[in-house]
Subunit: 1012 residues, 2 copies
Amino acid sequence: MAILEVFLLLFAVQFGVESKPITYNTSQGIVTGKLNVHLVPHTHDDVGWLKTVDQYFVGSNNSIQGACVRNVLDSLVPALLADRNRKFIYVEQAFFQRWWREQGEIVQDIVKKLVYSGQLELINGGMCMHDEAATHYIDMIDQTTLGHRFIKQEFDQTPRIGWQIDPFGHSAVQAYLLGAEVGFDSLFFARIDYQDREKRKGEKTLEFVWRGSKTLGSSAQIFSGAFPANYEPPSDEFYFEVNDASPIVQDDMDLFDYNVQDRVDAFVAAAMSQANITRTNHIMWTMGTDFKYQYAHTWFREMDKFIHYVNKDGRVNALYSTPSIYTDAKFVANQSWPLKTNDFFPYADRINAYWTGYFTSRPALKRYVRTMSAYYLAARQLEFFKGRNKLRPNTDTLADALAIAQHHDAVSGTEKQHVANDYAKRLSIGYVEAEELVSSSLGCLVESTKSHSCGKPITTFEQCPLLNISYCPPSQLDFTKQKSLVVLVYNPLGWKREDVVRIPVISSSVAVWDASGKEIESQILPIVDASGGMRNEYVKAYLGRSPSDAPKYWLAFVASAPPLGYSSYTVYNAKQTAASSVISSVQTLQGHENGTIEVGQGNLKLIYDKERGKLTQYTNKRNLIKASVEQSYKFYKGHIGNDNDPQVIPQASGAYVFRPNGTYPINTDGEFPMTVLKGPVLNEVHQQINPWISQITRVYKVKEHAEVEFTVGPIPVGDGIGKEIVTQITTNMKTNKTFYTDSNGRDFIKRIRDYREDWDLQVNQPVSGNYYPINLGIYMQDSTTELSVLVDRSLGGSSILDGQIELMLHRRLLYDDSRGVAEALNELVCVDNDCRGLIIRGSFYFRIDPLGEGAKWRRITGQEIYSPFLLAFAEETSGSWAKSHVASFSGIAPSYSLPDNVALITLQELEDGQVLLRLAHLFEVGEDKDLSAMASVELRKLFPTKKISKVTEMNLSANQERAEMEKRRRVWRVEGMLNEEPKVVRGGPVDPAKLVVELSPMEIRTFVIDLE
Amino acid sequence: MAILEVFLLLFAVQFGVESKPITYNTSQGIVTGKLNVHLVPHTHDDVGWLKTVDQYFVGSNNSIQGACVRNVLDSLVPALLADRNRKFIYVEQAFFQRWWREQGEIVQDIVKKLVYSGQLELINGGMCMHDEAATHYIDMIDQTTLGHRFIKQEFDQTPRIGWQIDPFGHSAVQAYLLGAEVGFDSLFFARIDYQDREKRKGEKTLEFVWRGSKTLGSSAQIFSGAFPANYEPPSDEFYFEVNDASPIVQDDMDLFDYNVQDRVDAFVAAAMSQANITRTNHIMWTMGTDFKYQYAHTWFREMDKFIHYVNKDGRVNALYSTPSIYTDAKFVANQSWPLKTNDFFPYADRINAYWTGYFTSRPALKRYVRTMSAYYLAARQLEFFKGRNKLRPNTDTLADALAIAQHHDAVSGTEKQHVANDYAKRLSIGYVEAEELVSSSLGCLVESTKSHSCGKPITTFEQCPLLNISYCPPSQLDFTKQKSLVVLVYNPLGWKREDVVRIPVISSSVAVWDASGKEIESQILPIVDASGGMRNEYVKAYLGRSPSDAPKYWLAFVASAPPLGYSSYTVYNAKQTAASSVISSVQTLQGHENGTIEVGQGNLKLIYDKERGKLTQYTNKRNLIKASVEQSYKFYKGHIGNDNDPQVIPQASGAYVFRPNGTYPINTDGEFPMTVLKGPVLNEVHQQINPWISQITRVYKVKEHAEVEFTVGPIPVGDGIGKEIVTQITTNMKTNKTFYTDSNGRDFIKRIRDYREDWDLQVNQPVSGNYYPINLGIYMQDSTTELSVLVDRSLGGSSILDGQIELMLHRRLLYDDSRGVAEALNELVCVDNDCRGLIIRGSFYFRIDPLGEGAKWRRITGQEIYSPFLLAFAEETSGSWAKSHVASFSGIAPSYSLPDNVALITLQELEDGQVLLRLAHLFEVGEDKDLSAMASVELRKLFPTKKISKVTEMNLSANQERAEMEKRRRVWRVEGMLNEEPKVVRGGPVDPAKLVVELSPMEIRTFVIDLE
């Protein structure tokens, strides 16, 4: 260490102030009584956007964008060493970790010193600056945890600041959960609605206290600041990247163009201007922007001079700072701040420019991210059961891939196509590794009760990630050849559950037995041709090979699995067995008949008008709901941005911005046949809506909601017009402009059409200005009922008319929307150089409940949709698989189950063998009369085979003890609030003797558990 | 020093190979038997072009061009420290010295180590990479010396390589004088004619031995290389500036897009391609270009990888190198090289693109540079006589300004207008300081014989830099008020000389006395109105103030001054004295008369046709020359570059390129009156050629040449057409396509129209392709006579028809010629925001001699034109100034004079008190029957008042002893030359006892002399 200190000293001497002919005094701190200009040197490094994350890191593909993060970090170290007053914040851990891995020990030691001294502050600290609209809160937590734990481990630091400077609107969950619950002292961002910003500038309310959660209220509030303009320097006079055109401070009197006074004047003027819209005498200058500081020296050299000369001038006080220092100064100022609730969606940066298109952009990527998110959750459970393997296979690759996919130009869909491909490729690589781990963990589990000592199991389980297009080679077994198929159904949820499993088979003559050898009810449904075509094309596109013969049938049966456990089912050739699957009845309606057809074997019935081929009514015989419901499709023409008004900046609809240019119904009354399949497990209604939209509506006997599986695309654009496809569910409910959408799949927020809580909205886009992101679902209410829709991925939706809900399912556009991506959102799928528009298949789920009863379905079914059964397949010939194997399993204590209102959202073995556990209460206060209550979980039951030696409650990102975090939490003064703050109830501390965790509504509690 | 070594070690450890997870072996040297790819990292930093030198240095004005040399040098130091195998060459001392001044001692020590170790090699080493067409050899020597002596002083290094990679054509003087005579081992450049280059590539003759001087032949030859394309990396795949788009070597297997083999293949392919056009197995890659290495790390990082992986691959050998190492390798290869004589003018980079416009571009700047060059020479003499002052005023500022004005985008005229203004401003600032020094030195000299002990003299001399526009406040004395004017006439030449002095006066009633009090003949010439108008406008433009009343007369008299000395003359009111100046007779010819008028009081007579108002005949009664001579003007329309031929790249005439689009005579037969002034000193013929061209032809009684002072401009462009103005001297000589132009004012080179010595010329521009730069003069011969023209600045000229010489005097163009300057060459002069095209005033001189007798006039008068009398003025009222002052002076021994064939081109006191002396033989071998002979100079006579303690002969740039240089000189094998090399005679060593310097033809000898 001594040698390093010599090094640091020498470096300081060499580049520092001591030896320079011109010496700059950069040591200034805060000066009370002066306007303090906090210069915050930073770089904003997108974890993929126009280039892939690796291209940004290494600086390749610069013809697209000149950007190289390796340069930034390489050049930063000497620049910080050169002057101990210089500071820098670094944000994106995906880049930082790439760089860190390449460094030798000496550089690592130097950087650690820089971090310890506060010169280099790692803030935000997730792997990426995640999006806030299209991200699920579990993914946000996971990617933040990944970054935060790395920082904790390598630097013993906990990031103090939320720094979401670029995402396109800001969510309530970001503020309270990924902000306050992570332990951040403040949250900064740049993008809020232009109308909102103008008002806030006038009222000096760009900084405020944000309470994102109705339920957790002041217990999870955070001091937040929206920047006056963007996250760049205050004007074009203060950019100092190599070759930037801002005037430098020329202070060498021996050279021409000496300009110190001129530059100081410009600095002071910019500072005064910002001071006029800011409370307290502290303002922050974000000194940097995208991928800057490639040669960090150039920025610091100029900032050194500004600090020196501006302070010599004396009108304002300039200092090197960080958001932490700035936040501390704001706190010390003891100012009252306005209160902000809810969120900052939707975001428009100017008239006609609502960034609500990206809620849906790249729906296939969004779905892939969601699928992998759930898979990662399940895989970590199975990794824990098997025992974590430091060598591969493990879940780390998938963790990394998922983490960067949360970036605000990743799952958001606002990246270039080749970058979207890169995210998908990374997910795929991560999946393949996790799949191997999952298979082997399941193999171990079926072969032994002592799972932890399993090496390489004999049983080889295969999985079917392309099941949604009926591609599942292991299930296409020829059962006539004495083979049977073991279907392992793993349930990642903390409660027992039953659900319908559907697998493609080549024979209709099959039977399904459960683990006890009992035959269970099953149903055969023919696979329609259209699906076969898509299967061939997409398997070729994804796997590069043509699939074998298409299966002809879906086999469906109701499977049930214990909490965190599996059941196994065996599919046999029916001829070997007494019983057989029921083959569905098929009824094709050509649209010439009158009358209705009723669909549904259980409580829920859907009634269709035969002539129009359309859903008309919804009934539930259990709760006596009866409602008129229609479901239809329409499209918006994407605006091409040909505005003639010279006052208005032209705006096309594109990857970011949704700007419709007219609404076009897709009317198919009776034009296409409707086919109804019925059987004991489920009924299906197949509808071809038009040549490029079809759907299958499923009503399961055991469920009280309808599932609509839509297939949209290729959207035709031969007419030169981009199209954005929505589906609408229309009722005659009187919803009074009001609907509810979730925040990152967690809290529901009330939305009122053409209205904003914070300002008097000037409506210029009556459709896109009312769009909100949907991750979990959307619902609306009238005086007696509520209609809820749940989704299988993030998308945009709204209620444009009372009684109606619409979801945007797919977008294909031909113009770029001028926000930098410089590509039209025109996704293609190519096979042998033949490219066609992307087809999207997905599902949404809807249900009508009596008023006040919908939350239970939304929350619990929402969790089931997020975490479907994980299916694994094995072939067997013995005929007695269940006898020789552990045919069912639960990871938790027998007969124990999590409460209905609690989900286990993380169960993960950490690198050091500790266990990371997160439990989430699923309900908000007042949401459900029974379930919006305190819940409790017995930890011992979760680890039945192990002894808990220690339980440490952590903050959300598990980089600090919760108690420590709470101790440090600051109480900000809120305008108009005196001492009447409502008391927020939270679960109490965990008694080490009882080991019971209490969870209050919306509470998520994170534990690190030591097991013996 | 120990602490620095620790520092270096640590640095090496930190950034070097030892600690990196990926280690690169960059230690490779030359490998015999393999193709060696010499990677030569370099930056090409124009000392002004689109931005001023200071703007380039500090990185301001980046909106014009992103460039900051401070970044280059700041970032270079750590990059070199990081790996001792890395190398870099730095070229432009103007930048290097600016940077050096800003560094503290520690950095300076580190850089010294880098230089000593050879990691950082300072090559070329002048203040700038001087132009080779528009520069005078004295300026080239001075600016090179300035840089070389700094390098010697700070680093004890002598640059080994000439590196003229960007100038637009290459001169013979550069090769033999500024190359071989400086002691360079080789000379590299990029720009040669595209036809020449193609041939050389095919014949592998891009590298050769260049003998630039007929006279000095092999004794001043240099190994030279023209690059295969330019001075950049071999293809667009090898640029590594921050944000450059070349593919980097991605060798981190943990990241995507690993591409090592692909990059190695590209490297090898590029190397093989270059090897195919190169002799020996050594090729050089110039790894850099304009203003690159702003973050040097980015280049070295990639080159490290290339060296590592390419050598691992093994097909070729890649190494860090410098031109020195490369030259050594070429020498060791013991190859024979082709011989090159003469020069590389003119330069065309493609069809229609002859870079011959810049020979004339910005004629006012070119004249200003020439004037200042001569002034600097004289001022240094006077500085020496007074004793050098380390404090101001001294000549250093002017030296610096002149040095950078030699840059190949400075005096060349190819810079942006604001940059041209900057050069002029610097010259002006330097001049003002030197003027103060000169005045004070002259003051000292007139006040005391012991000049070295002079402090601040009482006598205040004023000088008149705007004399050419008759602005000279001190001479506009009101002589009636008992005042008289002392005119000190300083002669910087080494021989006694007489010349006509002309000064503006307000009264015609004056008389001139010499220092002995004897009245001398003088003549009064009325000043014409046109000049008065220009005087007012340009004084306002240059000085920002309106001049006082215009003088009405020129007073002319023949002054005579001793070598390196002055005489003084006094101008009195004629009424005080017996005699008076002769008032010229004035005859105005309206063009209606027949017959001729003869002009000239001495041997030379010019005969004009009265009716046409034109010169028709030239006679010299001494040598009986009688010749028909016409002199006229015409203009070329500047091509606007509207080529339709898709095969041809459009090309306009512009700052660089001369591309005429038709020739237009300026016919004025009898249209304007011609005025003839006659008197005892000189006769003048005033002709208004057209509304914007006038001229005064002067025939002096004591001279046998005609002087033509032209005034051209503002060139009208209201017709949208740029124009390039030439004057032609037309005879009926039979010149057989042949003419002679000087090389940088030194050697004359034979030119043959439409012909190149080195290849079979494809003529596509019959005018501009025959243009050559003229610094001293141009001449042509027939069987009996030779006609010589001398110029007062650099310009372009040719002989487009036999018997005719043309000079391009001025250019005003409206289109940019696409070579980067991005401005049309449209010079304006603005007064109170009223801008008009620039007016050019200048002179050329012509004379006809019997064949073989012209050289004497060209050489001696050429020297007099270069170094005119330096005039200084003082007012006096005593009436007996000469008695109370030292009225005449010579710096050398009384009655001593340099031989007619020798010029003193440097006499300068160095910083350490030593004296730098340069003597130049002015004649080539065979040029004059008497003067092309060995000459000798007695050094003791040059320092009559001091004792010479030591004389050290130096190389041309005075950074090494000549003997050492000769010892190191390499003998390159020349193709076809065996041992029949003609012996070159040179002056012998200086005998310390005799102290006589012998000078052979064209020899320049440089001495550092210690005086006691």
